[in-house]
Subunit: 236 residues, 4 copies
Amino acid sequence: MTKKPPALFEKFIYILIAVNVIAMILESHESVHLQYDVVFQIFETISIIIFSGEYLYRIYLGYKNKGLQGVSKYIFSTFGLIDLISILPFYLNRFISIDGRFLRILRLFRLTRIFKLGRESASLKLFVKALSAVRSELKFTLFLSVLMILFSASAIYYLEHDTQPEKFSSITESIWWATISLATVGYGDVYPITVGGKIFASIVSLIGIGIVAIPTGIISASFVEEILKMNRKQKD
Amino acid sequence: MTKKPPALFEKFIYILIAVNVIAMILESHESVHLQYDVVFQIFETISIIIFSGEYLYRIYLGYKNKGLQGVSKYIFSTFGLIDLISILPFYLNRFISIDGRFLRILRLFRLTRIFKLGRESASLKLFVKALSAVRSELKFTLFLSVLMILFSASAIYYLEHDTQPEKFSSITESIWWATISLATVGYGDVYPITVGGKIFASIVSLIGIGIVAIPTGIISASFVEEILKMNRKQKD
Amino acid sequence: MTKKPPALFEKFIYILIAVNVIAMILESHESVHLQYDVVFQIFETISIIIFSGEYLYRIYLGYKNKGLQGVSKYIFSTFGLIDLISILPFYLNRFISIDGRFLRILRLFRLTRIFKLGRESASLKLFVKALSAVRSELKFTLFLSVLMILFSASAIYYLEHDTQPEKFSSITESIWWATISLATVGYGDVYPITVGGKIFASIVSLIGIGIVAIPTGIISASFVEEILKMNRKQKD
Amino acid sequence: MTKKPPALFEKFIYILIAVNVIAMILESHESVHLQYDVVFQIFETISIIIFSGEYLYRIYLGYKNKGLQGVSKYIFSTFGLIDLISILPFYLNRFISIDGRFLRILRLFRLTRIFKLGRESASLKLFVKALSAVRSELKFTLFLSVLMILFSASAIYYLEHDTQPEKFSSITESIWWATISLATVGYGDVYPITVGGKIFASIVSLIGIGIVAIPTGIISASFVEEILKMNRKQKD
């Protein structure tokens, strides 16, 4: 039988993550940050120690279950990587001298802590199953979406660059327009103003949006299919 | 047999709610409000008296059906709570002295009256059935959506805060951007302008929007499944 | 056997409608309108005569098929009403003196001509079948959408009116915000700026958008179901 | 047995296309363009030579497989046309004198190179199968979408033209508003401001958006249906 951490331990870790997320949100408020900086630093250090302990404990559990194979299975699992990534920046910052810019990017990894909350849910397992059932089709439609975005970005660049050289300064810049448009967000910071650009954007809106929305449709349909399958099994 | 209010009574309550909603909309126009203030106050008082009578009547019906158990069943049902919440602010305002700000929030509860219109629909029952069939998966995907929003908000805060300190002043503020973007509304009041922020927002748009849209897809698919099941039953 | 208009006649009417639509689009350009006004008027008169002839012809066909019953069946069918509405403004304008404002609204009815193009398609029949299979659920979810919009509009009015009295001047005005937000269009002409308004709008975005999107999901799913059913039949 | 190009050759072409796309994106940056113009021109010429060779080779393969029939089958296939279109502008530009404006449109065809990446994917074949299973319904719903856009554009033109003569100058201009609104992009560059326009836009948002979203729903559902069918087959 696979050994798992005790339920109480799991609950404690969950609460700690939740408090960590709340702390991160509070800390981002300048006024709060200035007044309670030390509190946040102490809390972060304590959290890191506990999370590090959790990481070692899970490695140990993996070893107990299947020896070295179990260890490497855990380390390279999605949650194993998340567990590592979310504590790594703290240590890197302490032991290696890194410049400020890179540090800020590293801090982003701390955010992955949020996703630790999803672990051990039965729905997550069903969701992963639903995803893997349509894995190759999902890859294909995501690839199609990226192609569609690249194509739209390039075309709008040629059509709008002369009239709006600042907003469509390069294809790279136009990718921003293409993504935000095909995802139907449409902030309104960039949009075509030439007749050609408008006609192209209209056609692309009708076709491209459909293509970009397909992956979501596939995931939903596959998920519901798995739910129905499970329900049928439970009945039998 | 479960006793229900007579059909005529139900109809009368329905019409009264509809007139209440119209009155609320009309009252919000300053010119109308100034001229007919007394009329609206009298109408509100009469409405409250009738709705209070309805509430007591439904409690009485619950008692007739299953004694005290029936009473508590009604009181703690969704519509029982809505029935109470929609009349409560009136009484709280009369009998307890409360300050203006809290009163305004209380007035919001009056709005729940709108949802009383949905009672007793066969489709509502089917809809609730469809929702409860995918209950745990719905909770999971909504939880995933909230995680996605928190993660996006935190990341964009780190990426954009220095360049747009006013628009992305804290993670709390950034949650507004994340929700409006991942729900694909995109008002255009806040959007990333740095290269890092744009790249992150593009990727998040493609993945995050899909995740936020999954609950809707699941509800629709589950609803249609229940409709088909019911149609098949009616055929047999 | 039900008598239908000859195929050539149908084709001619189709082309005439298409030309009518193109003419309407061209006429809307001021420069074109000023230069070719007479041409458009003559074309409109000829079109009306032919469409009137078509209307009488279809009434006659109805009579031939099932007597007076067939006539009333045609007249009160969707396309029968569209056929009438699209020619009516012309005659009303000629024979009754109407003021300019009402006339402009009447001209809008001329647009229904566009929908005459959909007649006689096998897919339309399947689509209507798919719609009627989920009729009552569709009504319910549309009703739910309207409730959601009314509720959101009222709540945002109470939350934002004091801060933005011009943009959220009344609940009627706020309905515009609610519809455009819940339909995820988000022009960006109105949006909440208070903390309360933003929190409410965020929550409403996640829940309300899902509700407003359900009717579409139901229609799509029901349509595909009908397509699959038809394909299975064709195989047997 | 149908002869196919060797796997290594396919891989080489794939990498070349990917490098071409990257080159196109880089070239669009003014600073890069100015400094490395010659490099890009040489790379383009080499690419064209290889793609031309690929085109001839595929014609030869078609001939080997089924004689002249195989040749015409390849030439008029989707990818055959893409292969041709993506190299044509280069030759037209060399051998025929064409003016600058037409040349820029021709350059757009170069972009079709992106879609060459999709060839030979098993998912693509399944996707095409899913599309063709709902072909006629897809055509119908796309046609319905176009009707809806034309109708909305015409109606908003009559409602908003007098108040915003610049933004809704003609129905052609209003089509831009209608497409961007019904596709739920909503840049916010044009939107109704009259009461009539807002009421119409609200109603159209609720109904029209549903209609425009149906094709996507159909494609997703059909795709998932094909995936499930294939999975069942693989099990048997």
